[in-house]
Symmetry: C2
Subunit: 351 residues, 2 copies
DNA sequence: TTGTATGCGTTATCAA
DNA sequence: TTGATAACGCATACAA
């Protein structure tokens, strides 16, 4: 160790080995570290003169606070963990973007993780997040294993589940899935359809997909409609997947007059497949879809879609977490409304 | 081991006020904190017996390390910052997913931030990231202001720019944009097209969009093709935007025989618009596009597209950062190859 | 193999 | 208003 300069401050930065610390700033400004800290956090507690000196020193040294030290002392990181599966596709990115924006507005940063399919559950990801000291966690589209909730509880970490079944533990930000299913089915029933197909998510992977299917089934039953087994495909959400699913269905030639798609990616893919196969829509087959990316309304022929409040989920989740982190007891989140986007598709059911 | 407690540890958790610390584990296991720390980080330095005791204590207390303290002591956070604009749309999510996966495999977590349009530059976001102690930074799709690079350099933080001009400062992970433009134009020239349109990103916002346009122009010039001003639209990347851009172009009825789209979102939207307007493709108008989402090939009618190596950019960037953080001098990244996805679209140029 | 003690950079408490 | 100083929880060099 070179001359440790026990008393007086070095005139210039002696070694730029490490980036400047609070102590460096204090030395340069000729004040104590406490004063520097206060100057940065509560400037009005400091006299204008010293404040100026401190700020100058901060500027000259290019001081950037060490978040680890701050987190250690303050016991919070201003960081929020998000566990998001299949981030690269479907409508999750839009949701995450909304979440990030909401949190960023209050100075929080998002730690993004994807659940690792390998180990037992996503508890290892959660563990990593907790080690990173996240102040809160947002869970998206995962079936919460009890362990996850237990860990969260044990660490007193606020969390929300997004787009999850409303009975999920913890506070859930979602929309009325049953109403959404109902809107689609009622619409098709009104057009005279009796036998339907469905292209949607994998029920084996996803509790949400199971519920979606269940809700559709109930809505169908209420109106005497039926889902035909040969016209059902479970797949990932994506354009390509919708395309292939629709092709598979078309090959089986099931006696259906309408297809419901679980997302507008799937719908777009399905329509492309029908187009290529020369199957006229809606003359020979109607298509309706859940709309999570705002582009279904632009597809030809006009689709009737239920618009899902994707970005709103992200925003609400962000607000909810902020409130909870700040100790504000926020109202129990209500289900967000869904909306039927009716198009002037007056075509009656074929057949 | 029930009666471990050799000396005088609390029989149960006395106050669960805070979550367990190393000291708590040490006390319960009847060892020192150093031993616990070593047990967790380098287990083979510890005797089997004590290791077992420590692990039991860890288990019983549900111990999770405090990352802030660890980061403070180790001077690293195992965290990587990513600055990603508009990641809710276009092809950025896929890239981010690839980046996250690559980093997560090595125990790194991604801190995701979107550049805030408000303040001068994204230096405030970068500042936040640096305060959080990120070990490295990945910049995506932004025009790096000198300040950003300066801050990065001042803090000795490794970084890469992704999908940026190759001459950008720092190491850039990208692909050969000129080759991509060339492939599209050569293809259209080969079909006999002479006058083209283009729907792409906003050149005013994006250096990348400027270059893309420039590259297309050069490729056109080489073959004597021309871009028609009335058939040029700059917009955001999205399905809806492509739809509206194409409608705008159609209204102006420019004398073009082919349209180039900057992304498959735009292409999909454009095709939907043409479809709705009853403009036959490719009989009356050819459409070609840059393909960043793997779904253009499924669009009808067959599009010829250039596949852009989006996920590979994320992976390469991740690897590059990992290497740099570990001090490994990794080879200078080469431009990733692009690929023409030719479809059996043998239609010659109309007119 | 294990224990002890120090440092990491902030915040916060308590005096001055 | 400011300064000294004690946490904060972990890693690690050094001792034993």
């Amino acid at each position: 160790m070179p001359a440790a300069t026990p008393s007086l401050p070095p005139p210039e930065a002696p070694n730029a080995a490490r980036s400047a610390s609070l102590a460096d700033v204090a030395a340069l400004a000729g004040v104590s570290t406490g004063t520097v800290s206060r100057t940065l956090s509560k400037p009005d507690m400091i006299s204008a003169a010293t404040r100026q000196r401190v700020m100058d020193a901060v500027e000259r040294l290019g001081y950037v606070a060490n978040g680890a030290a701050r987190a250690l002392a303050m016991r919070r990181t201003r960081t929020v963990g998000a566990i998001v599966p299949r981030f690269g596709s479907s409508s999750f990115p839009a949701l995450v973007q909304a979440l990030e924006a909401t949190l960023a507005a209050e100075g929080y940063t998002l730690l993004l993780s994807a659940p690792d399919p390998r180990p037992s559950y996503e508890t290892s990801i959660l563990r990593t997040l907790l080690e990173r000291g996240v102040d809160a966690v947002a869970l998206l589209g995962i079936e919460q294993p009890p362990q996850v909730l237990a860990m969260l509880a044990a660490h007193r970490t606020p969390f929300v589940t997004m787009w999850a079944p409303p009975d999920a533990a913890g506070h859930c930000i979602g929309f009325d899935e049953q109403a959404a299913a109902s809107l689609v089915i009622e619409h098709l029933a009104g057009l005279g359809h009796r036998t339907l197909g469905y292209i949607g998510g994998r029920t084996v992977d996803s509790e949400r997909a199971r519920r979606r299917l269940n809700d559709l089934g109930l809505a169908c039953a209420k109106r005497g409609l039926a889902l035909h087994p040969d016209a059902m495909v479970e797949t990932e959400h994506g354009f390509r997947e919708g395309f292939e699913a629709m092709n598979a269905i078309a090959q089986r030639r099931p006696p259906v007059t309408a297809i419901v798609c679980g997302s507008d990616y799937l719908a777009a893919g399905a329509l492309a497949a029908l187009d290529q196969a020369g199957i006229a829509v809606p003359q020979r087959l109607s298509v309706a879809s859940f709309n999570d990316n705002d582009f279904a309304p632009y597809l030809r022929p006009p689709l009737t879609t239920v618009r899902l409040p994707i970005r709103q989920i992200g925003e609400q989740a962000g607000r909810q977490l902020l409130a909870r982190m700040h100790g504000t007891t926020s109202p129990v989140p209500a289900l967000l409304p869904v909306q039927l986007m009716q198009r002037a598709s007056t075509a009656a059911a074929p057949r």
